[in-house]
């Protein structure tokens, strides 16, 4: 393969132009639902309807009818992937990379229809659905290049002395179980899967039970690109399917993005070495956060307010990077609350396919109820500063909420709500804000609005988060530009979309050869 052009992000559609908007509408019109999603192991497909994904904005609309993989099927998928491992691992890296690039091209040709599917299945509004497709393409392109760089012998940084040759190589680990979330239904599963495949692992992909349709498209893309059928299995299912995968001693790596409790359970079960296991299971986990934005007294509220609204309420706050707490300097706290409440009052809650929608429905009824529960707690112990909101009756909608004046020990300030609920606290200064942030067990994203370079520097030094954003929104990390992942209990410290991410899917091996024969260096 000739050298690849440098990585560049797939451009999102320029939706400020009417011509671009109409392209997406065509994609939605061409979507034929429901999709039928099989358990897909090698060339075997078993269809079923044990798992049903629906349009969160119109729950009677079925998006996908999926088979739910049994524990036996999970084991069969791992066995098939295990059997295919040797051959895929031995496939030259440039061929593996080429397959990923062809998968990217497959997706690029279907951008509108893939975005339409994410829109229907997960209620991603158009700009976000389009961005999700772009990010999936980015991961394929980025990790394809990353795998090539990893195998570059010149990249070995070992010391060499006369009479010996030292070499560091990276080899794939084996079968990787990818357990994916629904909130970036194309991008995140594609990312984890592409990283594993690019480095020579075989993959069993379990998409979120809410997004089997998107999961199927990813597997189609990869197979169409030339990844052998046995090297990538589709295993739709719920928590039991994931647990079955995690228990299987032949799974070498678990790549997981999702909630904290599930992630911790995976880490626990992976730590148990099963009888007969020949390798430690590695877990790459991205979990939740309680993301805070600090607003200092010299912040420009004209810019901070829209950025906070975007961070907290786009996609109804259902991003691991979404802002949950604002810690505002007391000098501008009241003005901020007033303007924020006014801005939130103008947000339009509505279906994802309306370009005017700011806050789409939540993913499912449980989520709706959870957010309502937290809003009730916030209302009891503090003050809800946002008013009533027009919310469609059908679908898992909730009104966006801003709460202020909560007691410091409130659950609402500590637990991840994962919905359109934002709290605002008053702090004496930035240092008090940083103390509060330091008290949290999670550290995913964070934000700061300040126009003083010294304050910015101080916050950079004190902030524990994996991704800190200064004077901008805290969401929208881009592959190659903002490698993404949290610290503390937010994750295993990996950075999706970063150069070092692939290292979690390989084992380094060092070979040292004695080049001295009978006292001569040969």
């Amino acid at each position: 393969m000739t050298t690849l052009p440098p990585f560049r992000n797939e451009p999102v559609l320029e939706l400020r132009r009417a011509t671009e908007r109409s392209k997406l509408a065509v994609g939605l019109g061409e979507l034929r639902l429901p999709l039928k999603v099989p358990v897909w192991i090698g060339r075997e497909q078993r269809f079923g309807d044990e798992l049903v994904s629906t349009d969160p904005g119109r729950p009677e609309r079925i998006v996908a009818l999926a088979a739910a993989a049994s524990a036996e099927e999970a084991d069969a998928a791992v066995a098939t992937a295990q059997a295919a491992f040797g051959r895929w691992a031995a496939t030259p890296v440039h061929e593996r990379a080429a397959a990923l690039l062809r998968a990217a091209a497959w997706m690029r040709e279907r951008r509108a229809s893939l975005a339409a599917l994410a829109l229907r299945e997960c209620a991603k509004p158009w700009p976000e659905a389009d961005a999700d497709v772009c990010e999936a393409i980015d991961f394929l392109e980025f990790y394809a290049r990353g795998a090539l760089e990893l195998q570059d012998p010149d990249g070995s940084q070992l010391l060499q002395v006369p009479g010996e040759r030292n070499e560091l190589r990276y080899v794939p680990r084996g079968v990787c179980a990818v357990i994916a979330p629904w909130n970036f239904p194309l991008a995140i599963p594609t990312g984890m899967t592409a990283a594993a495949l690019a480095t020579g692992n075989t993959v069993v992909l379990k998409p979120a039970e809410q997004a089997p349709g998107c999961g199927m498209r990813i597997v189609e893309a990869l197979r169409a690109g030339g990844v052998p059928a046995a090297a990538i299995a589709l295993l739709p299912g719920g928590g039991e399917t994931g647990a079955a995968l995690a228990r299987n001693p032949a799974v070498a790596t678990i790549a997981f993005t999702g909630s904290g409790p599930v992630g911790l359970e995976l880490l626990r079960s992976a730590a148990e070495v099963a009888p007969g296991a020949r390798q430690l299971t590695r877990v790459v986990a991205e979990m939740g956060g309680k993301n805070c934005i600090v607003v200092d007294s010299d912040a420009d509220l004209d810019e901070a307010i829209p950025a906070i609204v975007e961070s907290a309420f786009h996609y109804a706050g259902q991003k691991c990077s979404a802002a949950a707490r604002v810690l505002a300097h007391e000098a501008l706290h009241d003005a901020l609350v007033e303007r924020l409440a006014g801005a939130v009052a103008g947000l339009q809650v509505g279906p994802a396919d309306d370009f005017g929608t700011d806050v789409p429905p939540l993913i499912e009824r449980d989520a709706q109820q959870r957010v309502q529960r937290y809003a009730a707690i916030a209302g009891e112990s503090g003050e809800i500063v946002t008013g009533e909101h027009d919310v469609p009756g059908e679908g898992w909608y909730v009104a966006p909420v801003v709460a202020a004046g909560l007691p410091p020990d409130s659950r609402v300030l500590r637990e991840e709500v994962f919905g359109p609920l934002l709290t605002v606290e008053s702090v004496r200064d930035v240092d008090e804000a940083m103390d509060r942030i330091d008290g949290l067990p999670v550290a995913l994203t964070g934000g700061l609005f300040s126009r003083n370079p010294r304050t910015v520097q101080r916050v950079i030094e004190r902030s524990p988060v994996g991704n800190l954003y200064i004077n901008r929104s805290t969401t929208g990390a881009m592959v190659g530009r903002q490698p993404f992942g949290g610290n503390r209990l937010s994750g295993t410290g990996t950075k999706a979309g970063g150069r070092e991410y692939l290292l979690h899917f390989v084992e380094p091996r060092v070979v040292t050869e004695n080049t001295v024969r009978h006292g001569l260096v040969v």
Binding site: R8, N9, E10, P11, V12, E14, L15, R16, R17, A18, R21, W126, P127, S297, D298, A299, D300, L301, D302, E303, I305, P306, V309, A331, R339, A341, G342, A343, A345, G346, Q348, D354, F355, G356, D358, R451, N452, P453, R454
Partner: protein, 453 residues
């Protein structure tokens, strides 16, 4: 471009441009000196220093004390690598509390002084003395109300109320001024004296690039009320254009409202065409087609500008991987400006034309082109920015041309964003004013634009 026509215009453009430049007041000579702060001259030469000064201007309104101001100032200046001696001295002053108070006071005073050159008053009432003086000197005005960004419905209502009040104040004040025949009538009929520029982004918090109808729906009642009031007061309402993100929303909204039956016989209203946009010729098509099928008693005024969001447009496009919507070479932009000028002048009386540029060549071209088309001087308006284009405005008025000065009104706090943009424009590398200030020969300033094709 039609080469023949362009060539035959050149001698006239040079003649007009030369005459205009001779009309610049000699006691000032150098427009950059208008910003008497030596800081601006320094800033024009050093990118880091410029950034530091702009960041300071930007944060002044948010600082709580002189100490806080000084802390910001020294913090910004600390990031400048090559500090002139005067700055090093300022940094040392900032080491003590008393020094910081002095430094903060000096910094704030400097910014305020600068702001006063651009902002004619805290409110329309306070602006009246300046507006009267301009009118007496043969220069009309368009008042622009500066304010915080609109993020809530209440803020949109407040801005609309300020606009309504400004219309009242301006109409009453201008009614008492003496006649200025050149400023009050063109071939299409009477020209209103009172003139207000409004921003749709301030009339609604709901401008969404991907959903223009939301902002349109929300802004429409507020804008409609202002149009009614302008009609009743016989004032002109001009709707400014902002970044490309909002162009579709703004243009459609204005054209739709003006096509409503109640506005067929007024008020006088206008839109803006930004020549730096590559697709501005298509936007002009849209405007002219609309004007052709929408008979109005008073033709739509089209203000032709270069465009003030160049950096924003380039950065946004590059961050998203989009093709850059603006011309990236000054020559291409200038050539487009001239082509649009020609089309607009030829489209009269379907539209009224306002040429808003500080570029001597662009202005001279418009004057020459108007003459070539046998237009009268009163049939094209020239607009300048208060604080930046004052000398040009006076020179144009002195040569019997119709001039309007765009006058920002508002408190300094809210006006800072505007101020920063104007300062950026003035010190940018390819700024015409900077060229002129640094003694680029007149022949070169008046040469035809060099295009990349």
């Amino acid at each position: 471009m039609v080469v023949g026509a362009a060539t035959s215009l050149e001698p006239e453009i040079r003649r007009v441009g030369k005459a205009l430049s001779e009309g610049f007041p000699s006691h000032r000579g150098n427009p950059l000196k208008v910003l008497d702060d030596r800081a601006m001259d320094l800033a024009a030469q050093d990118a880091e220093l410029r950034a530091a000064l702009f960041r300071f201007v930007d944060v002044v309104p948010a600082c709580r004390s002189l100490d806080d101001l000084a802390a910001h100032l020294t913090s910004f200046l600390g990031e400048v690598h090559a500090q002139p001696p005067s700055l090093r001295a300022a940094m040392r002053i900032g080491d003590t509390k008393a020094g910081r108070a002095a430094l903060g006071a000096a910094g704030a005073a400097g910014v305020r002084r600068m702001a006063h050159r651009f902002i004619v008053g805290e409110d329309p009432q306070a602006a009246l003395p300046t507006l009267r003086r301009l009118w007496r000197d043969g220069i009309a005005a368009s008042v622009d109300l500066l304010g915080e960004a609109t993020v809530t419905a209440e803020e949109a209502d407040r801005y609309a109320a300020r606009c309504a009040q400004a219309l009242d104040t301006l109409a009453a004040a201008y009614a008492r001024m003496d006649e200025q025949p050149l400023l009050e009538r063109d071939a299409s009929g009477p020209l209103p004296r009172a003139n207000l520029s409004v921003k749709v982004s301030a009339l609604t918090p709901l401008l969404r690039p991907e959903a223009p109808e939301r902002g349109q729906r929300d802004a429409a009642p507020r804008l409609r009320a202002l149009l009614r009031q302008a009609k009743q007061l016989d004032a002109h309402l001009h709707i400014d254009m902002e970044s490309l993100d909002t162009r579709e929303a703004v243009l459609e909204l204005v054209l739709d409202l003006l096509a409503e039956a109640e506005f067929a016989d007024g008020p006088s209203a206008g839109v803006v065409l930004q020549a730096y946009l590559r697709d501005s010729p298509q936007t002009l098509d849209t405007i002219l087609e609309w004007a052709d099928r929408t008979p109005r008693a008073l033709p739509l005024v089209v203000r032709l500008v270069k465009g003030a969001y160049w950096d924003h447009e380039v950065v946004e496009a590059r961050q998203h991987g989009w093709s850059v919507p603006v011309f990236e070479r000054k020559g291409d932009c200038d050539a487009n400006f001239e082509a649009l000028t020609a089309r607009l002048l030829e489209a009269r009386p379907l539209v009224r034309v306002a040429i808003a540029s500080h570029n001597l060549r662009s202005v001279a071209h418009a004057i020459a082109r108007n003459r070539l088309l046998d237009g009268e001087p009163r049939d094209v308006e020239f607009q300048v920015l208060r604080g930046l284009g004052d000398d040009l405005g006076r020179a144009l008025a002195a040569s019997g041309l119709r001039v309007r000065s765009y006058c920002p009104v508002g408190d300094l706090v809210a006006g800072m964003a505007y101020l920063v943009r104007r300062l950026l424009e003035n010190t940018a590398n390819e700024s015409f004013l900077a060229d002129q200030a640094h003694g680029v020969p007149l022949e070169q300033l008046l040469a035809p634009p060099e295009t990349s094709t």
